[in-house]
């Protein structure tokens, strides 16, 4: 199957998972996905569990507390919703690990171009953010005031805008020089 086929299979699996309300079936599908994921399964599962931990733990604990107090607790619900979320997020990580997302989007050239350029921008701008954070930390021995942190956040925003505008101009010039849209 080609990359776009995997993309459609992934989307169909996501939709199907939201129509299944039997925990045993969802557990079987998760086991099947784990088995099919091959040697990367435990790394992907660990990544999945870290990704869902905060939100699912908050929702599950809140639900348990509320329904135990109200006398309507359902372990079936907790198993169902957590299995569904883990399955859907695992499928996403497996898809991205197995398939080149840009190749899957190849049928939409403009989308591929925008995403490729955006990913490059993101990587470069992430470095700006990291540099700002390290500089701010190194220059503040004590806890900075709210005013200082607000000014720091504003400076980051300005630097990001500046760098983005410069990068967009640079890309436009590069594309124009290569006659990217002459067809």
């Amino acid at each position: 199957m080609n990359a776009r086929g995997w993309l459609f299979a992934y989307l169909a699996a996501l939709v199907a998972a939201t129509f299944i309300h039997v925990p045993a079936l969802l557990a079987a599908l998760l086991l099947l996905a784990l088995a099919a994921a091959g040697t990367t399964r435990w790394r992907l599962l660990r990544r999945t569990l870290w990704a869902v931990l905060a939100f699912n733990l908050t929702v599950s604990a809140g639900y348990a507390l509320m329904t135990l107090w109200q006398g309507s607790f359902s372990a079936d619900y907790l198993i169902l919703v957590n299995l569904r979320v883990v399955l859907m997020v695992f499928l996403g990580f497996w898809f991205v690990a197995r398939v080149d997302v840009l190749a899957a989007l190849a049928g939409w050239p403009t989308a591929t171009l925008v995403i490729t350029l955006a990913l490059g921008q993101i990587r470069s701008l992430e470095r700006v953010i990291a540099d700002f954070r390290l500089a701010f930390t190194s220059r503040n021995v004590a806890q900075p005031r709210l005013r200082d942190r607000a000014s720091h956040a504003g400076a980051q925003g300005i630097a990001l805008l500046d760098k983005s505008m410069a990068a967009a101009t640079e890309s436009a010039l590069a594309m124009r020089s290569r006659a990217a849209f002459d067809d």
């Binding site: 989307l11 869902v52 329904t67 919703v81 955006a118 504003g154 925003g157 990068a167």
Partner: protein, 212 residues
């Protein structure tokens, strides 16, 4: 604020995709005819910028912080359509590559944060301009966080009503509106204040560079 996969019923996300498809078509209209070596990098730049603005820590009283949305800034500087498209691209990338948010929830997240947030910011700026630029931009930024919060809380809060077993046990998100509205809105009211400070600072700079 992102809703992850698995907590929205198909009765919610499928109609949301229909609405979002219309909104994406509206946002891309005109842009598609103008896609060239200037507009494509600009859209990509905005998508990248929208993503990293979400990494800027917005300071909150008490030493804590939240994440900026950046939608108000994008909408005020580049218009609602571009801001909505860029933010949708960010959500798609976050869902596919970084596991944040979700594909089934993409339409709701994009409509709430990208469209409602962007429209709220632009409308508030227009309505409140007579109060002065700073007040109008600050109010726009605060609303661009608070209103999407209301939408997300409403969408999550109706899940137990529209998707449950015959005995009333929920099938997706378990909490009703009485819980979701205060749980989402109270923290975001504070995050909105930080977002307003950030947006005003960058807005003033953008004006000084004649980007507005």
């Amino acid at each position: 604020m992102h809703i992850p996969d698995g907590f929205l019923s198909p009765q919610t996300y499928l109609p949301a995709y229909a609405v979002a498809a219309g909104a994406w078509t509206w946002a891309a209209r005109g842009l598609r005819d103008k896609l060239d070596e200037t507009t494509v990098p600009r859209l990509a730049m905005l998508t990248g910028l929208a993503y990293v603005l979400g990494l800027v820590m917005v300071p909150l009283p008490g030493g804590t912080s939240g994440h900026a949305l950046g939608v108000a800034l994008l909408a005020l500087l580049f218009g609602v359509r571009l801001a909505f498209l860029a933010y949708s691209g960010v959500l798609l990338l976050q869902a596919l590559l970084f596991g944040a948010g979700g594909i089934t929830a993409l339409a709701v997240n994009a409509l709430a944060m990208g469209l409602v947030g962007g429209m709220a910011a632009v409308a508030a700026k227009k309505l409140l301009d007579r109060l002065g630029d700073t007040a109008a931009v600050a109010a726009a930024a605060w609303l661009s966080v608070a209103l999407p919060g209301v939408v997300v809380a409403l969408v999550l809060g109706i899940q137990p009503l529209i998707a449950h077993r015959p005995d009333g046990t929920p099938l997706f998100f378990p909490f009703g509106l009485a819980i979701t509205l205060p749980a989402v809105l109270l923290p975001h009211a504070f995050i909105g204040i930080g977002e307003a400070l950030l947006t005003v600072a960058v807005w003033r700079y953008a004006k000084s560079r004649r980007w507005t």
